[in-house]
């Protein structure tokens, strides 16, 4: 067995709906798939103490994040009978209303795709060294904290 190549998950800037559509369309030739589960993270215009979030600026310790994701990917494929799994996380400044995370899992029957998708989102948020800086309309900022 050869070790699989480490995949990049990072994209610069927001994830467009056209990119998502293209990813979905590419799976129409995989006729063993019965269900796709997709999670999209969208930047929220939270109001915090009277200040409105206008964007989140994402940075990452990229090499370490990709290594972690590689390990998580292997564990998820071990645990669920998936046909495929695609993960994209934005870096840089993503405006409120834009998509910053795209997790996409597919399987023959629906449950594995759904459960793997949820688990990947949880693990990505907890285990990948990525940081979001919430930029307020007035130019100030605070560091995002995941719950």
């Amino acid at each position: 067995m050869t070790e699989k190549k480490i995949k990049n998950i990072f994209v610069n800037g927001a994830i467009s709906s056209a990119f998502i559509a293209d990813s979905i369309a590419k799976h129409s030739s995989k006729k063993e798939i019965g269900g796709h589960s997709i999670f999209l993270g969208q930047v929220r215009a939270d109001e915090i103490e009277g200040r409105l979030v206008s964007a989140i600026d994402y940075t990452a310790y990229e090499d370490v994040a990709l290594e972690q994701m590689h390990k998580i990917r292997a564990e998820i494929f071990e645990k669920y009978p998936l046909t495929c799994m695609h993960i994209y996380q934005s870096l840089g400044t993503i405006k409120a209303g834009e998509i910053c995370l795209f997790v996409f899992t597919s399987s023959s029957h629906r449950k594995p795709a759904m459960h793997a998708c949820e688990e990947v989102v949880e693990r990505l948020k907890a285990e990948l060294p990525i940081w979001g800086k919430e930029i307020f309309e007035n130019g100030t900022h605070q560091w995002k904290e995941n719950k």
Binding site: G41, Y61, V64, E145
Partner: protein
């Protein structure tokens, strides 16, 4: 011993040092003690270290030229 320091997120606003020449520091526990004495604000931030791109789970040795990353809680996604 020379340590290369990378810091992220809110810790990058606090620790801007890129290189540290440290004696009497053998492992990551020593290093954390040193950090928290030098930057008392770190006592109020949960953080993790990575040494040479390996996230530190338990205390581990440092060597000359190690790259130590100081990482506040992750908030991707």
């Amino acid at each position: 011993m020379e340590i290369e320091v990378i810091s992220f997120g809110k810790i990058a606003e606090l620790i801007t040092t890129k290189k540290l020449i440290l004696d009497f520091i053998l492992d990551t526990d020593d290093f954390k003690k040193y950090l928290e004495e030098t930057y008392p604000e770190l006592n109020n931030i949960k953080y993790k270290l990575a040494v040479d791109k390996q996230i530190v789970q338990t205390n581990c040795k440092l060597k000359d030229g190690s790259v130590v990353a100081i990482m506040p809680p992750f908030s991707g996604g």
